[in-house]
Symmetry: C2
Subunit: 205 residues, 2 copies
């Protein structure tokens, strides 16, 4: 018996106000997070999107472009938030706490992108690579400056500010483990625990 299958061509499904490119970038985020940028192949990505590998190139320029989009998307959000925080008239501890809260929220709500931006930026190529590294350095400098101001007016313990920044940023990166954990406490509890330990450890009392 002969059976004819009427196959219709695959199509990337989109919702209102999202381009097909955005769908691809988003799937790329979770794939890069899972396997790492180098280990994730365009054929893997194509399968996740539900299409053949070559078809992706109707929407994107290259694999690296996907990494650009992810890294700079995240970097921009953090930079804008830093602008906001700096312009506020609150004390240093409050500023630090707000920065920490923002980081935690980003890590909880935009897990994949933030994680990828954090771990895989090394694979950017050079006009972008230096740019990204600069942004990172700047962000940390500004963060450290806030802590230093707090040390000067005795709000914060006399510690090495760059070290504190380093600790805080990496500690938050640990939410990765929480995210994958089976028995996770709820997000609010996690946040308040982290604030207690991280900000509490800075306070001069």
């Amino acid at each position: 018996m002969l059976v004819y299958y009427l196959r219709t061509m695959a199509r990337i499904k989109i919702e209102k106000n999202t381009s097909r490119k955005e769908v691809i970038v988003s799937k790329a985020a979770s794939l890069f997070r899972e396997k790492g940028f180098k280990a994730a192949s365009m054929r893997d990505l194509a399968e996740a999107v539900g299409v053949e590998a070559a078809s992706l190139y109707n929407h994107i320029k290259s694999k690296t472009e996907l990494l650009h989009e992810l890294c700079f998307g995240v970097a921009n959000r953090f930079m804008h938030h830093m602008d906001e925080v700096e312009s506020k008239k609150t004390n240093s501890i409050a500023k630090v706490e707000e920065l920490v809260r923002f980081h935690i929220n980003e890590m909880i709500n935009h897990y994949e992108e933030v994680y990828v931006s954090d771990r895989e930026w090394k694979h950017l190529s050079d006009p972008y690579l230096s740019n990204f590294q600069n942004q990172r350095r700047m962000y940390r400098k500004r963060f450290a400056a806030i802590i230093e101001a707090g040390i000067r007016n005795k709000e914060i313990k006399a510690i090495d500010a760059p070290t504190a920044v380093l600790i805080i940023l990496h500690a938050i990166g640990g939410i990765e483990s929480w995210h994958r954990s089976t028995q996770k406490i709820d997000a609010a509890a996690l946040t308040s625990n982290m604030i207690t330990i991280l900000v509490g450890g800075l306070k001069n009392d």
Copy 2:
């Protein structure tokens, strides 16, 4: 004019009491750290060692074996140290501080291996992968148990112990940034700063 070069065959240079395999594993550590496991090729490694790619296989079984050696080498050191700490009769804060100190020392003195083991273990393949993940889980559980004991006898603030472990371990991972930093404070100062913030943030006072 005709010039004859008398080339002698390359050879992996070794020092007293180190096998050629150890040299390879060590070079692999810094290469994997720099580029990531997937992005580092056996030809890259061969060049770093000063030999042709195929020659490496006189000493090792496969690329993955290099990752095994690195990951389990590190994991074993941490596990043994945990055994030691648990068997001591000191209070909880002292135990936590000793664990933290050990981590920092390992990160400072065996930077490349620890870093690789931490970031690249995902690329292990399966009998080894599960084994490694189990060891990791166990280590964290035991660390959390020590903190929980400290909470029960009021040495330590009433926080979520797994979260605290997560923060501590990842914060120490931040030494990576310090390591690459141009203007680094000295190791002792770094250690004392980290202890102040991390252990200080736990103490009940």
